[in-house]
Amino acid sequence: MKSLLRYREIWLLAAIVALIVAVAFRRPSYASFGNLLDVFNNTSLLLILAMGQMVVILTRSIDLSMAANLALTGMIVAMINAAFPAFPVPLLMILAALIGLGLGAFNGLLVWKLNIPAIVVTLGTLTIYRGTTFLVSGGKWVNADQMSPDFIGLTRYLIVGQPLLSWLALVIIVVFVVLMTRTNIGRAFYAIGINPTAAVYAGIDVGRTKFIAFAISGAIAGLCGYLWVSRYVIASVEIANGYELNIIAACVIGGVSIAGGIGTVAGAALGALFLGVINSALPVINISPFWQMAISGAAIILAVIFNARSERKHGRIILKSQEVGHG
């Protein structure tokens, strides 16, 4: 039991449960199984996106272009669907992931081959992808009546009473658990995050590994492009505007260290769920949705303080050193 408490995921899980219980005091129906499944379904997109971002952050990089990638890919598949309603939707979903993969690989190539810092690359491609969405669509929206019933219905298709979107999130979590803990590339992500120099000596190509991380986050963002458009039944230039920071927030709350090398799939998933529970709880306890942003901001700051306490390395301090840890 005591060893369990050492894991930050347990604390985060406890915080989520405490939050649900607290809300249930005001409105018991909130804690019903059906409602909690709804909350999970509503958080699924953030959860899936957080998986992709986590991999990138583990390698000491950051992907600011995920939301823009999502918007561009979502717009492209929505327009394909509007033009060719007969095109099978599952294939469209795979196509979305592939387009996203391409956009992510472009980020990865710039980071790998030109060695430009990831934050600069994705800051640039964030505006490029978002702008391209406008060029592709001409600023027009793709509305519900232009989408085929299958296109809208796939994410809502019920399996054992739960929409496909939720199941997809679960499957992706499992895939990432296997990827991160049971494969060489998963170990490599951690290795270059913890100590890139040592990773090189261990035979890991740092640049190539980062490239793969960006390709993964791109594919995830592209897949979510379809899921988002299908879920909210609208494709426009503005969808998911600024959402890249929510995705990073989910990771940070989940204990993924921005300095790289530290973080788990369970943590990132719980971080996303934490934000999802807060967002869904506010209207239930009659707090204006305008509080949402400030609360998630405060949650991020508290999470960082909490994580920094447990990450701090215990060693001999010669001089009262300040900023020495990061650099």
Binding site: I116, V206, G327
Partner: protein, 332 residues
């Protein structure tokens, strides 16, 4: 996000000063700026006109004011993503003060003070609690703008006094706006602060090697705290200008500006990993971004498409010297 491969080589022979000035980043930026200026003049007959050129400066002066302080912060190895949110919060407190009957001087003071307090809060979290600035300021970004949303919801503050309008709309002389003059004065101050004072040397020292700086007796935490305060202060000033120019406050004010400010700084040649950069570069980059957005605006190119140019410019300007270096090395 430090890089292992970011090794500095010591050259066998130092370039002479003239040669290094010609091949400097600033020179490259000036060439880009002149090229865009000429392209604009050919593309639109409305461009070469004193009033057009004056309007052009309104595009970037507010962001550029923040970029000056942000440059120092990034050189020291930190970053502040909350600057646009500080603008929103400072604008909101000014709106609240307006409702309470405060007049123009008081409004300005409150706006700037709010910025300073927000910056100090960021600085406290980063230096006293030793947290990574990129995450801290993602958090405070939501927090500051979130407070604006709590106070304003979907409402807006309007009815700022006429005397308040001067800061964002007034002209000092002929077509020279107050905003432009303020920016140029601040640019000179920041130039001296970074390139001509001990404080500036210490900022570079911290960015290059915080451990060595610490051991050399540089008060790393205190200087970083001051830099966060300066960035907050400049955001407060930018908030006064923007609120005065728009004449109203909404919680969504200046949305997304943090990324534009950082783009400006990086385009100006400041190393995002810290340790190098110049104020001159940032000032030229500010003009470049102003020229691009204004020139494309005259051609009726929508803002979102302009952002493609800015994004591509950011990557190209950084990639070109790297590709050039690769080609030269592969030939040697």
């Amino acid at each position: 996000m430090n890089e292992v491969r970011n090794v500095r080589h010591i050259p066998d022979r130092l370039d002479n000063p003239l040669r290094s000035a010609i091949f400097s980043w600033e020179a490259l930026l000036i060439v880009v700026a002149v090229a865009i200026f000429l392209a604009n003049s050919f593309a639109s007959p409305y461009f070469l006109n004193a009033w057009s050129l004056s309007d052009l400066t309104f595009n970037f002066t507010e962001k550029a004011l923040i970029a000056l302080a942000m440059a120092l912060l990034i050189i020291s190895g930190e970053i502040d993503l909350s600057v646009a949110a500080i603008i929103a919060l400072a604008s909101t407190t000014m709106g609240l003060a307006l409702q309470a009957g405060v007049d123009t001087p008081g409004l300005v003071a409150i706006g700037i003070l709010t910025g300073l307090v927000c910056g100090a809060f960021n600085g406290f979290l980063v230096t006293a609690l030793k947290l990574p600035s990129i995450v801290v300021t993602i958090g405070t970004m939501s927090l500051f703008r979130g407070i604006s949303f709590i106070i304003l919801g979907d409402q807006a503050f309007k009815g700022y006094p006429e005397s308040f309008a001067f800061f964002g709309q007034g002209y000092v002389w002929w077509v020279v706006s107050f905003e432009l003059v303020l920016f140029l004065v601040c640019a000179v101050i920041y130039y001296f602060l970074l390139h001509r004072t001990n404080f500036g040397r210490r900022v570079f020292a911290i960015g290059n090697n915080p451990v060595a700086a610490q051991f050399s007796g540089v008060r790393v935490a205190r200087i970083k705290f001051v830099l966060f305060c300066l960035t907050g202060l400049m955001s407060g000033i930018a908030s006064v200008l923007l609120t005065s120019r728009l004449g109203s406050t909404r919680p969504s004010i200046a949305q997304g500006w943090e990324l534009e400010v950082i783009t400006m700084v990086v385009l100006g040649g400041v190393n995002i990993l810290g340790g190098s950069g110049s104020i001159l570069g940032v000032v030229i980059a500010a003009f470049i971004m102003g020229l691009v957005t204004f020139g494309l605006g005259l051609l009726n190119v929508p803002g979102i498409v302009m952002s493609i140019f800015i994004g591509a410019l950011l990557i190209l300007v950084i990639a070109l010297p790297i590709v050039y270096g690769m080609l030269r090395r592969s030939r040697a």
